[in-house]
Subunit: 347 residues, 2 copies
């Protein structure tokens, strides 16, 4: 990917040289950032607000495969995955810290690509990069991001506050990131068997982007504020719809009915799942990495959201003894099970 | 280390099972913690204070060697390393998030040991563990910690505010962590050559502890407050005294004179450095990992600190054109160079 003449060795640059190089163009834009990169800690000011903090770690070989993940996309995704958690609290993301561990054999230009994606995401989502750590890794690329945000106390939305009768809503569509991953994995295998065959992703842009370049749903948080709807509970869809709704129900001590025919699927997700002999509903329930927002609202808010293009009502919250159920297209009732991504599953 | 009958497989427990297991005994103690582990993000309240955020990543094979690092110590150290950055801002640490990547072949009992050290550090230093991430790693143990703290605006102490004539002070003693590491590395080599020979660390407890179980200097921050001294600049000693004082001077646009005979060395550090044919002063200047606080104070504060046992005045800040100098015991003047730990050095 990088020709020798374009290479700058990280070893020659050193840690402080690298940090200086990577952070020299940082522009701080957030009123809450008092001091960013360049001291022992960032200094932030959230007078009158609650502070939200979330963190995620992405490891090569577990969360991403550099065989088909452009570094710029990876940097972008690492930020999105984290911002998504702040939005899932109904908050505004304002800062991130980014720690990177990478082989000293990586050329500087590769790290620059990674940071380019990070900076693009920060700029687009109005967050300041205020700190981090860079180190060499003997073990592949390691990315750890902490996101920081804020919200008025009255706006903070937890998982454990869904009420009986509340409508269950989800933004966007589901299952695409998982089906996109299947496609990328297939093309990788074909390539490994015969490097002369070019990957065939023609016409599959949407689901490939869902996997490689997800967008956290800040717009949904803003939309809900603009129509004066406060969700009663909210979570982001990182592990699959089933796992997430079970979190809300368990934490809220409630049950739920989800309707299979209401689950929003993009036609490309549907068709491609079928090509892989996968059940599209299962992809939505258990696939994960969609980074959509799953939330509950009071029935009284139904009129405010019913015509919002990007929000789908997929069920309702019930009393706990009713359990958590999926009502299939044929009217059968199945108990929902979390079969989402298990970070410790056997290979 | 762990017999088979004591093993609980991470694979069987799953990610949420593991998180539940590891966090079930968390006690939140900080008034600023509104919500800890268990939602998309932690919720914190720092009304009227500046918020401090810092993050560090520790990678197996780079920052620690499991051949001689007990996991409990490693967990403890991972927290200390991060809290040290908050104290270096003259703040109070109040929360941490901890992300761990580890092989799914690790037994649960190993992770429990790691977390035991984490929890002991949190309890001792009055910080709440409020979030994190656990994931499997194909490539060794990965630990990423973000620490969060607070300070009154007037108390926050940056690196770039040292003034000409200010006294340069350091807490505790220096070089011990580096010499301790040399000792551990030597014993590891002896063990690898002949596993029947037991490691000989007799009488070396202090420097071994300096390496394996450092203590962040919260007490110094509290001491300075109690005697009404606000440092004019402060940084923690993670990369060695030379690297840190150069940071302060560069950021403050000043020079400095450091006096070799003032640099505090523990006798065990001195003797053991000599055993290894190392210059003890170089160990202090370039060794790193001491996690002491290096700070500057106005000359007017001299009387307040001169008899403080755990603070040593080692030099003073000069005009920038004078450069950054070490005055040796024989009266020679050497320009200080940062030869601290380089995360990207060649092996």
């Amino acid at each position: 990917m990088f020709e020798n003449q374009d290479r700058t060795n990280l070893e020659d640059l050193g840690e402080f040289g690298l940090i200086g190089h990577l952070t020299k163009n940082i522009k701080l834009t957030q009123p809450s950032t008092v001091k960013g990169v360049g001291d022992d800690a960032a200094v932030l000011d959230f007078t009158g607000k609650k502070v939200l903090v979330s963190t995620d770690m992405l490891l090569e070989g577990i969360h991403f495969d550099l065989a088909y993940t452009p570094l710029k996309h990876l940097g972008y995704k690492a930020i999105q995955v984290n911002l998504s958690d702040i939005y899932a609290m109904n908050g505004t993301a304002s800062q991130v810290t980014v720690s990177i561990g990478m082989s000293s054999k990586f050329p500087l230009e590769a790290i620059e690509e990674l940071y380019e994606g990070i900076y693009i995401a920060c700029e687009k989502y109005n967050v300041d990069l205020v700190g981090g750590d860079t180190t060499s890794s003997k073990q592949g690329l390691v990315i750890s991001v902490t996101s920081i945000g804020y919200a008025d106390e009255a706006d903070v939305t937890y998982r454990n506050t869904a009420g009986e009768g509340d409508l269950i809503c989800v933004s966007g569509d589901l299952g695409g990131a998982y089906v996109g991953l299947q496609l990328l994995e297939r093309e990788k295998q074909i390539y490994l068997e015969n490097p002369k065959i070019q990957p065939d992703l023609e016409g599959k842009d949407y689901i490939v982007e869902r996997q490689l370049k997800p967008e956290a749903r800040r717009d949904i948080v803003e939309l809900l504020k603009s129509i004066d709807v406060k969700p009663t509970a909210m979570i982001d869809v990182s592990d699959g719809l089933a796992s997430e709704i079970l979190h809300i129900c368990k934490e809220s001590d409630k049950g739920c009915n989800l309707y299979e025919d209401k689950i929003p699927l993009d036609p490309m997700t549907y068709e491609t799942a079928r090509e892989f002999n996968l059940d599209p509903t299962v992809c939505a329930l258990s696939g994960g990495e969609d980074y959509e927002l799953l939330f509950t609202v009071k029935q009284a808010d139904y009129d405010k959201i019913k015509f919002k293009m990007d929000i789908t009502i997929i069920g309702h919250i019930t009393e706990p003894s009713a359990g958590c159920n999926l009502i299939t297209k044929t009217g059968n009732v199945h108990a929902l099970k979390a079969q989402g991504w298990n970070a410790f599953k056997k290979d």
